[in-house]
């Protein structure tokens, strides 16, 4: 069809469509990213004076024990928690797919936590974990297990796990709806065989459902992984990194070094941000590549 070419347009036309978005991107994403890289080589005591320090910040990071603790916590969270999130989401989706009654109600009830802000979820779970009257300890005492009652967020051994549970509570519903959507897009005859209605469902789960949903599940794992590498709000609200850095994450540490501690230097937290930026991108690239390789080997 010569003459009616709707696939090309003059550059000025393209620019009218594209330029506003690109300008916003340049001003509020690209420039700040470059500026953070630049800042990481400076000591910025206030907004106007910057002293060049080269790689000093990066060298200092190697000996920073708080930073090391925050990396360990974030890594544990990023690798372990996505398995819980995706696993729960998959099981919940299977229940709905198997055609339980009141499926609509269940879906709403399970999905609602996804919509709540971290501030609301954080305060809610601060109360749930409250030592004196929180649901967890109240339940333990009521069932005669009062000896197990515990200051869940105040103990270095349980604080990180408690936060991970809260985070999983919020995100299970998201993984559920994604798994459910993926199941609905599969050929129905195949999955009907995998309904949960009779014995041997575990075998069906592992031999039919999981292999079919592999791409979606791996995708969800990567999404959850990225989310956990950035985790900030919940920690900031519930424990602020404590007790004794037991729940410190890289994000909260960057925030503290930049805005909370009175070591007013924006260069050092910028260096952490740069390093973490590279780590996240490297891990996402690696995971994507690994999962692809495995797919190729199987076929």
């Amino acid at each position: 069809m010569k003459g009616v070419d709707t696939r090309t347009a003059a550059w000025p036309t393209l620019m009218v469509f594209l330029l506003p978005a690109l300008a916003v991107y340049a001003a509020f994403t690209a420039y700040p990213v470059f500026r953070t890289f630049y800042n990481s080589f400076f000591n910025i005591a206030d907004l106007d004076t910057a002293r060049y320090v080269g790689l000093d910040h990066f060298r200092a990071l190697a000996g920073d024990s708080t930073f090391r603790a925050s990396v360990v916590n974030t890594m544990i969270w990023s690798f372990v928690a996505p398995i819980i999130d995706v696993g729960t989401g998959l099981l919940l989706a299977l229940c709905l797919y198997a055609g339980v009654p009141f499926a609509r109600f269940f879906r709403v009830a399970w999905f609602t936590p996804v919509l709540l802000s971290y501030v609301v979820v954080g305060i809610m779970w601060l109360w749930i974990y409250n030592y004196d009257w929180g649901v967890v300890n109240a339940t333990l005492r009521a069932t005669g297990l009062g000896a197990l009652a515990h200051s869940w967020l105040g103990d270095t051994h349980t604080a990180l796990a408690a936060l991970m549970v809260t985070h999983a509570w919020k995100w299970a519903g998201f993984n559920m709806v994604v798994c459910l959507a993926a199941m609905h897009s599969l050929p129905s005859e195949v999955l009907e065989a995998a309904e949960l209605d009779n014995c041997g469902w575990a075998a069906k789960l592992f031999h039919v459902v999981i292999p079919l949903l592999r791409p979606t599940l791996l995708n969800l794992y990567i999404l959850a992984f990225i989310g956990k590498m950035k985790v900030f709000d919940l920690v900031f609200i519930m424990t602020d990194g404590g007790p004794l850095w037991a729940t410190e994450t890289v994000s909260t540490y960057v925030y503290k070094r930049a805005f909370n501690w009175n070591t007013f230097d924006l260069g050092y937290p910028s260096a952490i941000a740069v390093l973490w930026f590279l780590v996240v991108i490297a891990f996402v690239a690696l995971l994507t590549w690994l999962f692809r390789q495995k797919d190729r080997l199987e076929f």
């Binding site: 347009a9 994403t29 055609g99 009654p101 399970w110 709806v177 979606t216 900030f232 709000d233 930049a258």
Partner: protein
């Protein structure tokens, strides 16, 4: 999905598999009760709550909402949130739709590169822009301003908006565009009179998704706005919690005020919202 079995049969079959039913009920309690608990606390006074944290409200203190709104500044926070979020969502939708249309429809050198650059920033950890944005905003007098926060929010949601809309716009049949061109439509008319109406379901999805994400946004709001009179709801709740740690009842009321708009949106547009959230993740 296509389950022709009558409901009653299915129900009895499900009841027979008691363990599954137990799991369903337990998980539902686990998932929904915390929120129900906060809801009951929001209409009870703090002294009633201290007496028994788990009692059903005997007197429904709806006046607490009024107190939270007027006396504890939640009205101000609500207004700030509304202003910032509505403005940001409106602008990002227009900018994002224009860019998405351009990337989805036209062939030009660098198209996929631009798409990739926009899209890849979805995975960036926010700290990589947080600290320098603080400097930039302070430099331009946009620190501690709702306008500054709005601009940052537009930038934050742009990649996701372009990504979701590009995917949808690319599936609009090419015939529609060819026919429009034959009828003498120009490039901008095509965008306004074809892409926007046809793409409305996808646009609605991104609007809802962006609204909820920004309504709940915390990190940039806490760094870029310091003035209590300009704070958005999440920051307002946290500040109130910091100042009146013991006032459990009023904190719960404030939380409900922050959550209600999201719940209303979800009640009306749950399908759209879920579509938006799943669009990126299903392959």
């Amino acid at each position: 999905m296509a389950n022709a079995e009558p409901f009653a049969d299915r129900a009895t079959r499900m009841l027979r598999s008691a363990p599954l039913a137990a799991v369903l009920v337990l998980y539902t309690l686990y998932s929904a009760l915390p929120f129900a608990w906060i809801a009951t606390m929001s209409v009870r006074t703090t002294s009633e709550i201290s007496a028994n944290h788990y009692a059903w409200p005997t007197v429904w203190h709806w006046e607490k909402y009024r107190a939270a709104w007027f006396d504890s500044n939640f009205g101000t926070y609500f207004w700030n949130s509304t202003l910032v979020v509505v403005a940001a969502v409106a602008v990002v939708t227009v900018l994002g739709a224009a860019a998405a249309h351009c990337l989805a429809r036209y062939r030009f050198r660098g198209n996929r590169l631009v798409y990739f650059i926009l899209f890849s920033s979805i995975i960036f950890p926010p700290q990589i822009i947080l600290i320098s944005l603080f400097q930039v905003m302070a430099g331009y007098g946009l620190y501690n301003s709702r306008l500054g926060l709005t601009l940052v929010y537009i930038g934050l949601q742009l990649p996701l908006t372009v990504y979701l809309l590009e995917g949808f716009f690319a599936r609009i049949p090419q015939d529609l565009f060819d026919a429009a061109k034959i009828d003498g439509y120009g490039d901008f008319e095509i965008f306004v009179r074809i892409v926007l109406p046809v793409g409305m379901p996808a646009i609605a999805t991104t609007v809802i998704l962006n609204f909820i994400q920004l309504w709940n946004e915390f990190l940039f709001a806490v760094v870029l706005v310091n003035d209590p009179g300009l704070s958005t709801l999440p920051i307002g709740i946290r500040r109130f919690m910091g100042d009146y740690f013991q006032d459990t009842g009023m904190i719960a009321t404030g939380m409900m005020i922050a959550v209600l708009p999201v719940i209303v949106v979800y009640a009306f547009f749950s399908e759209k919202l879920i579509q938006g959230m799943t669009a990126g993740a299903v392959k």
